[in-house]
Amino acid sequence: MMPSSEAARNVPTGPARKGPIGIEPGRINAGQPGTEKGRVSRVGETARIDARGVYYKTLNGQIREQIEGGATRVVLDNVNGQRYIGAAIAAQGVTIEVNGVPGNDLATFMDGPTVVVNENAQDGVGNTMNSGLVVVKGDAGDVLGYGMRGGRLYVRGDVGYRVGIHMKAYEDRRPVIVVGGRARDFLGEYMAGGEIILLGLGESELPLVGSYVGTGMHGGVIYLRGEVAGHQLGKEAGTAAPTDDEMARIEELTLDFCTRAGCDAAEALDRPFTKVFPYSHRPYGKLYAY
């Protein structure tokens, strides 16, 4: 039995088509290594870059070029999956606005700028960030603020697993994460410093926070708007009601978050918070010592 002629249209038959070797040009996208730059339009101190199909290295080079050339606002259009946007940029008073979904490790090692993402962000936002501000208007993925050592991360929507893992503080460097939605398991895992505020605004079928909150935590503090059950906590974390000073700090950070992320401040402060703190500064101090 041979394939019918109609069916034959469904599978390739005959000799290979002649064409360029490698991926068809029409299918090249931002994931493909390339040096073609995005189109730039510059008005005063605002630069717009069309990032469609631009490889991440090229795009990040263009962002640096614009900032070095005096731009204080860089708007990226048609971003899709480009990694490391804003990576290691050390500059004050600069804003990078992202339209589209940026790739992993947004604002990694960033030192100073403000990054605004108008849609969802992927994994690893603010990885080892030094200072500056990241505002994500949608959701953000896993390991948000991994090893973060300064600056602020504001996420209006939900966040994934292991948010704030290995966050740390030193002298006046106190990293802050504020999340408007819900968080999954391992919030504040191995956290060594800084503050996390989880608000859980609006309606959702998801719980405020998953399990293993503060597993391995040995510094810093997590404030939850609402309650957390004992079985959701890691062994190294306990709960308490925030003190008046701490409440003032929560209000200050929450109001700033609501202003920048566009949330309802009255809702955000409408119920008591729970403080999650580490029992010990050296939970594993005796792990390998007998």
């Binding site: 039995m1 041979m2 394939p3 019918s4 069916a7 034959a8 469904n10 599978v11 390739p12 038959t13 005959g14 290979a16 088509r17 064409g19 070797i21 490698g22 991926i23 068809e24 299918r27 090249i28 996208n29 931002a30 994931g31 493909q32 290594p33 991440y56 899709n80 999956g81 990694r83 589209g100 979904v101 790739g103 992993n104 969802n120 992927q122 994994d123 959701d139 993925g141 896993d142 939900d158 994934g160 697993y161 292991r162 999954r184 398991d185 391992f186 399990s211 079985h231």
Partner: protein
């Protein structure tokens, strides 16, 4: 007759052919050999033409990294060009390192929808002759042809690629006392284990796996996937860590119409492999991923579990969470973990299962690998990165992060409704019945 004897019976029925002789009784015709399509031996660019391929020796170096995967399923059964899968994977180019890429498409062979389609990888003509002898002996070959390809930069040293549309005569089923599916499973295990240089890339009805060494978008172009149309596509870009980067080791891994693309590693491989051996599955592909394929075949096809319930065995709830469940549920999950303890997948993973009824995506229990899902109309998308979904569906109605251990299930309408006798739907009854029956 136990499982092992059945395997042997199929094997010996293949005669000398399955032992490395061709149909003329000749041994090892080196003159016909092509260089095998894998990595060259370390430190050498010259393929070794002297012996049959030794897959384990091909990649001794371990390189760390992360795979990328995607899946799309149209629940209404509308067929899409394979170009979607190519573009989606192309956007995750940097997740892989060019040592493996592959795709599975469903609904791509409407002219032979009921035949089992064997996609074959042959290292040389001897392997091809042996396999054809074996297949002709055990199946009615409805149609066979080379798998159409085109030259693509980045793809080299490809093995011989053929596909065979096979049916099984009633006589053979009566003789072996096997279902058609079990018969095919034995044949696949036979070919993979006993015919040197021959590997079955896929063996399902109206589906096929297209895989090789290269970046996934190159592999997709190489196989001309944009010219196929299917209702489910899965894709994978590989960054080999623990096992060789060779053509047979690229994902997806398939058995019957189950295909698996996988990012991560199965730390429980040894336990899973021993468990599967008891059911007649031979793990021959030098990779941890194949156990996932066989576990799904065992649980979905042979034990008739629903995908949701099978996933609860593979990524089962922690005991501490089972303790918090209501009594009935607690009994159910306790039974599930006891019955399917050796099927538990440990270690970090995200997998996408393609199957005749649709598609399932699953994470490990503590979310150690990325996975994002989206829905737009009839189409369900999953991928390692949201941008890979946005590449082919710029504005989905909804996108979300699946919870760890909670499967995302897309069902083809008409094909995907679980029948009532499947466990899981009826809750505790099914699983407890299984607990006592097995």
């Amino acid at each position: 007759m136990n499982e092992r004897e059945r395997v042997l019976r199929l094997d010996t029925a293949g005669g000398e052919g399955a032992r490395g002789l061709n149909r003329w009784g000749e041994v090892d015709r080196h003159s016909a050999r092509r260089p095998y399509g894998g990595l060259p031996a370390p430190g050498s660019r010259t393929p070794d033409l002297g012996g049959r391929p030794e897959y384990t020796a091909e990649a001794e170096e371990r390189i760390l990294g992360a795979c990328g995967l995607m899946g799309v399923c149209d629940e209404s059964g509308e067929r899409m060009s394979g170009e979607l899968a190519i573009r989606s994977m192309a956007s995750m180019h940097d997740r892989g390192n060019g040592l493996g890429g592959g795709f599975a498409g469903y609904g791509i062979y409407p002219d032979f929808p009921h035949a089992f389609c064997f996609h074959m990888l042959f290292s040389d003509d001897v392997a091809k002759d042996d396999t054809e002898y074996y297949l002709a002996r055990h199946f009615a070959i409805m149609h066979h042809e080379p798998i159409p390809t085109k030259p693509v930069r980045g793809i080299q040293d490809e093995p011989l690629l053929y596909r065979y549309f096979l049916e099984i005569t009633d006589e053979r089923l009566v003789e072996t006392q096997l279902s058609a599916e079990d018969y095919v499973v034995h044949a696949v295990m036979d070919v993979n284990a006993h015919i040197k240089g021959a590997f079955v890339a896929s063996s399902g009805r109206n589906m096929g796996a297209f895989k090789g060494v290269g970046f996934p978008e190159e592999v997709g172009e190489f196989y001309r996937l944009d010219e196929y149309r299917g209702w489910t596509w899965t894709g994978h870009g590989r960054f080999p860590t623990n096992t060789p980067g060779w053509w047979g080791g690229a994902h997806p891994f398939c058995l019957l119409d189950y295909s698996i693309v996988h990012n991560g590693e199965i730390s429980s491989y040894g336990i899973n492999q021993r468990y599967l051996e008891m059911f007649g599955y031979n793990c021959t592909l030098r990779t941890d991923t194949e156990v996932v394929t066989y576990l799904f075949d065992l649980m979905l096809r042979r034990h008739r579990l629903t995908p949701e319930f099978a996933c609860k065995a593979l990524a089962s709830p922690f005991w501490k969470d089972i303790d918090l469940m209501p009594a009935e549920e607690k009994k159910l999950y306790t039974a599930l973990r006891m019955v399917y303890g050796p099927a538990l997948l440990n270690g970090p993973f995200a997998v996408v299962l393609g199957m005749a009824e649709g598609m399932v995506a699953l994470n490990d229990r503590v979310k150690l690998r990325p996975l994002v899902a989206a829905r737009d109309g009839n189409r369900v998308y999953v991928a390692s990165e949201e941008s890979a979904i946005r590449e082919i569906c710029p504005k989905p109605e909804r996108s979300w992060m699946p919870r760890a251990g909670e499967p995302v299930v897309a069902r083809l309408r008409g094909a995907g409704e679980p029948s009532d006798d499947r466990a899981g739907r009826g809750g505790a009854v099914g699983a407890v019945a299984l607990a006592t029956a097995d």
